[in-house]
Subunit: 143 residues, 2 copies
Amino acid sequence: MATAAKNIQILKEVLQKEGLRFTRQRLAVWTEIGISRKHRDADDIFISIRSKGVKVSRATVYRTIDVLVKNKLVRKLDVGDGKNRFESKIDEEHHDHMICLETGNIIEFYNSRLEQLQEKIALDNGYELVRHVHQLFVRPIKK
Amino acid sequence: MATAAKNIQILKEVLQKEGLRFTRQRLAVWTEIGISRKHRDADDIFISIRSKGVKVSRATVYRTIDVLVKNKLVRKLDVGDGKNRFESKIDEEHHDHMICLETGNIIEFYNSRLEQLQEKIALDNGYELVRHVHQLFVRPIKK
DNA sequence: ATTCTTAATGAGATTGAGTCTCATCGTAAT
DNA sequence: ATTACGATGAGACTCAATCTCATTAAGAAT
């Protein structure tokens, strides 16, 4: 389970590996993404950190997120509205997303057969699957 | 098979349905997308139309594409580089895309089992699948 | 064909997410 | 504590996409 101490440790290891320094701002960004509800956009994260009294800039938020995404601590999610969303990958099973066109709700799903098929399709074409983007845009079934 | 005459007819029907006028610009945009190679971005389409001597603006290109997408004549494709691509859906089987991370190549694929699975996943969650976004980011297998 | 109403267009301003610059700050090694 | 140099922040900048509004042109009516 993710404790604050464990999350700090994870961040420190990543920063060390990348030859980067451990700073208040980087910790704040990682904490914000790791602790809070999912699917938040960059500005949301920026505002939230500031509201907690930590001085940070948008530039630093974006720069830090890039590092976290590169090191697979965070996942970047494009829901098609021009703003990327971010979610922690720590203690999370892999999943994709269903976006409700009526409410904007984001529902997570996972299907192993689907994942296998994706690997197979890439392989059949002479490629190795690196990552995928998979969103289902849905509408509630009317009774 | 798609002939120029047939494509004009399709466009006219859509415009009529939408209560919109048939204009040189709208025809030029539809022709450009319908005739040319796939996966073109808006600016590409804009430049190409201009180079053929048809006076058009970026605003009109975007406005027309919106109408075409809304009426399922054109598909909008987000390949993750910040620029949407467009392709004609006329005389095209449905397919998804594999994007090569090394060359930027876009490969089309279709798998009926995959399509069925998506329908089922939405249904199992109480939703109706409206559309989906599905891209595989891949790397050539090294020999 | 000419007139007339109103939608469509174009040039350029604007938006907004994300990136970049560079003077200043702060980490952490010594 | 000093020092070297990486990190940060304010705000300029980028670029795809959208909006504004004066002008243009469909296409219906005559």
